[in-house]
């Protein structure tokens, strides 16, 4: 019964969003329409929540008369995986996608009370149009509410690789990031339709950009860590097309974050900011298309169905094509604003955007080129990690070099020589730290020391900004500390985000360059040594899990300091799907990790054991957490300002 109610709720949500979109786009100039659209947005949210709840209930109670549950859930699965199985498939994940979309729409309706009515109406209509399109897609090509009769006694298993806490965290975070950018997209379209855009527009868009960007950062980092511990060979980024699909909106979103800053503070870069807002969400949609169209195969992709692919492609073409046509016709109506000298904060942020845009192009072309080449000429080539490391790295290196200068430069006209002097301390420290690492690990001819230098430079440069603004060493310590804690949260957020980026770079370089690896065969009692850690193999025990059988290898690890820990690495076979997986064991020592994987048993009774020591590898994700945290810190400050009673006071009168 609840399944039919859920189905009905989803149909009703589709109808309401379609009506909201059409009436909103026709009557957006009327003041009264905004109120109806706000109610419509809330209704859409309630109905999609009801539909989603119906799905969750069917999965939790193992109602296999629901086709989706029968295909993707098993009564033996632990409760958490029954719930996450709802979005561990194409249809259910579409409902999650739409749920987050309507949450964003309701968010705009709730927080947008002080927006000009016409702008609010246009944004809500665009959100409704997106919701209508994707609800329609869900209902007509991938209906999650189909029934089976007779209902099977037992359901198939969720893909074992997905039976992990990661599935509970990674997709919701990532989708919130992806879909959050829809609000920026809707604001951009609203600006183009109304032909009016000013610093206040940027002020309203920035929190949504920050919010989406922070979630996307967390989502990507979580996905990376999940791949790292689940896929079993210790890689954390593969330049897989689907990873790239999430990385491109992140790069474009990072550019948008910075250009919206210029627009808010200086009323410049309007056309570019609108362009970026469109591009960022278009790249999110492209990711959705790539995952669901069947043009790729990966652990992320869902069952292939050419109709779905064609419909998604048509939606993609309509939204992206429509947005860019509108952009081409209307962009000239947006007037350029604030003047500035090339060497200024604005100039630095433009360079940031230039490099981020080029990096996005590098990833985009590398991802799509093999697909297009095959479609047009039939030739198949691979574009893999070596290509991306080279092109992406070559573009990011100069960006990292100029990054610390940005926050030091004044708006309008900066003093490059003065800034260089103030950054000399950070540069010296970075050089010292890099040389120290270099000396401690031995001479090499690789690029690793340069990479480390860049990481330290970015991290110390970010700290130097705080030190400089607090006037440390130029006034007494007490005053400096008072100044430091009196700094606006946005200053802290900038420094924290840039520091996080530096930390990630250091982690990436250290873990890639100084990783130690050992592949060997072991019998119980044998000892292997890796990076000073003595690993004793205690043997393999057979265990039965709730829905799998497992061979668990136990190891005693003696760290260089003498500390002894136990590690258990498993090889599992899932009962229902007969699919084998490996569960690596990871021991964390400070920022470094020892990664143990139990390989296939050999004929002579020995076990293949793969050991990696990954120095400072956790810094990669820790840096991402710092960046996302900085996003939320900035957001917590901005919300107070956004909620200020007289937002119009900050608006630029020359409209």
């Amino acid at each position: 019964m609840s399944i039919e109610l859920g189905h009905f709720a989803l149909v009703l949500a589709f109808a309401i969003s379609a009506i909201s979109a059409v009436t909103g786009l026709v009557f957006w100039k009327r003041e009264t329409i905004a109120g109806y659209l706000q109610q419509g947005a809330v209704l859409q949210l309630l109905l999609v929540v009801a539909a989603f709840a119906a799905l969750v209930q069917a999965f939790v109670t193992s109602d296999f008369s629901l086709k989706l549950a029968a295909e993707h859930a098993n009564s033996a699965q632990p409760l958490i995986y029954k719930i996450t199985a709802v979005w561990g498939n194409h249809e259910g994940s579409m409902v999650l996608w739409v749920l987050i979309l309507v949450i964003m729409g309701a968010g705009v309706a709730a927080f947008g009370r002080n927006l000009p009515k016409d702008l609010l109406s246009l944004v809500l209509s665009m959100q409704s149009l997106l919701a209508a399109a994707f609800l329609g897609f869900t209902l007509f090509t991938s209906n999650p509410f189909l029934r089976l009769s007779p209902a099977p006694f037992e359901g198939k298993d969720l893909n074992p690789i997905l039976q992990d806490i990661g599935l509970a965290i990674h997709p919701p975070l990532l989708y919130t990031g992806y879909v959050g950018f829809s609000v920026c997209f809707s604001f951009a379209i609203a600006a183009l339709i109304s032909g009016r855009i000013d610093a206040a527009w940027a002020r309203w868009v920035r929190p949504w950009t920050l919010f989406s960007w922070a979630f996307l950062t967390l989502g990507i980092a979580m996905g990376s860590y999940w791949a790292y511990y689940e896929l079993g060979w210790g890689g954390w980024w593969f330049w897989d097309p689907v990873e790239n699909a999430s990385f491109m909106p992140w790069l474009a979103g990072t550019a948008l974050l910075h250009s919206a800053l210029v627009m808010e503070k200086r009323n410049a870069l309007k056309i570019w900011t609108v362009f970026l807002a469109i591009i960022t969400f278009s790249l999110s949609l492209l990711g959705t298309f790539m995952v669901r169209s069947g043009i790729l195969t990966s652990v992320h992709t869902f069952a292939t169905d050419p109709t779905r692919g064609m419909v998604i492609l048509a939606l993609l073409a309509a939204f992206i094509g429509g947005a860019f046509s509108l952009f081409a016709f209307r962009a000239s109506a947006l007037r350029a604003g604030g003047l500035f000298a090339p060497i200024s904060r604005e100039g630095a942020l433009i360079l940031n955007n230039l490099f981020l845009a080029a990096a996005t192009v590098a990833v985009l072309v590398g991802t799509l080129y093999p697909l297009l080449l095959e479609a047009f000429t039939g030739e198949t080539i691979s574009v893999g990690a070596p290509f991306f490391n080279l092109t992406f790295g070559a573009i990011m290196a100069p960006l990292l070099i100029i990054l610390p200068f940005g926050p030091f430069l004044a708006w309008k006209r900066g003093d490059l020589i003065g800034v260089t002097q103030r950054l000399a301390g950070a540069a010296g420290l970075a050089l010292f730290a890099a040389v120290l690492c270099f000396a401690l690990t031995g001479a090499s001819v690789s690029l690793a020391p340069l990479g480390l230098l860049l990481g330290f430079w970015v991290a110390f440069g970010a700290l130097a900004e705080l030190v400089d603004r607090a006037k440390f060493f130029r006034t007494d310590v007490v005053t400096s500390f008072r100044r430091l804690f009196g700094l606006p949260r946005t200053a802290w957020a900038t420094a924290l985000a840039h520091f996080g980026l530096g930390v990630s770079v250091i982690g990436i370089v250290a873990a890639s360059a100084w990783q130690a690896e050992l592949v060997t065969t072991m019998t119980a009692g044998q000892v292997a040594t890796i990076a000073g850690h003595e690993v004793t193999f205690s043997g393999i025990a057979h265990e039965e899990g709730p829905n799998y059988a497992s061979d668990a290898g136990t190891f005693q690890v003696r760290a260089p300091g003498g500390e002894i820990r136990t590690a258990v690495a498993e090889r599992r076979v899932y009962v229902q799907s007969r699919m084998p997986t490996t569960e690596a064991s990871i021991l964390t020592y400070g920022f470094s990790q020892l990664y143990l994987q139990l390989g296939e048993p050999q004929a002579d009774g020995k076990s293949v054991v793969r050991l990696w020591f990954k120095p400072y590898v956790t810094l990669i994700w820790l840096g991402c957490l710092l960046m996302a945290g900085a996003g939320f810190l900035s957001l917590s400050y901005r919300r107070l300002r956004i909620g200020a009673p007289q937002p119009s006071a900050s608006r630029v009168p020359a409209e």
């Binding site: 593969f238 000298a341 072309v365 080129y369 080539i381 691979s382 290509f387 573009i395 060997t520 390989g599």
Partner: protein, 149 residues
């Protein structure tokens, strides 16, 4: 990078085992290190975007063995790659060759950077011209009057 690692590990570790599966590894560490480097750039043809160095698949195992056989037979790194391309096509290379059909792929990002750079440069010059220009346009004068009102 891998070669460096191999050398480092030989210094650090007492067990010089570098093979992906212990039974595959070559006795000569220098040759084995070259095999690893080559393996990292070769695609496991039946996998999802994995190099043969990372993959557990049987085909990846076969390819790793072929790489080591060719190296033992005295082939250079490029000869090994050419041998595999002749058998499996360019699809086996994770790092695409630079050739007419991949030219667009390789130059896209640098061209985007250069075009963007030129656009920024022109924009900056135009802005500077406006800054140094004492005369205000009618539009700007109007905007200024509006501001002063």
């Amino acid at each position: 990078m891998r070669a460096l690692l191999a050398v480092l590990m030989l210094l650090v570790l007492s067990v010089p085992a570098l093979a992906v599966r212990p039974d595959e590894m070559l006795a000569d560490p220098a040759l084995e290190a070259r095999a690893r480097t080559i393996s990292e750039g070769l695609r496991c043809l039946v996998c999802q975007n994995q190099s043969i160095d990372d993959s557990d698949a049987d085909l990846a195992h076969d390819l790793r063995v072929i790489v080591r056989e060719r190296l033992t037979a005295g082939d250079s790194d490029d000869q090994v790659r050419a041998y595999l391309v002749a058998r499996y096509g360019e699809y086996v290379l994770l790092n695409p060759v630079i050739a007419p059909h991949t030219l667009l792929l390789w130059i896209a990002a640098p061209v985007a950077l250069v075009i963007g750079g030129i656009a920024v440069f022109i924009g900056a010059r135009r802005k500077r011209a406006v800054v140094t220009d004492a005369e205000l346009s009618d539009e700007e004068r109007k905007a200024l009057e509006e501001l002063e009102r």
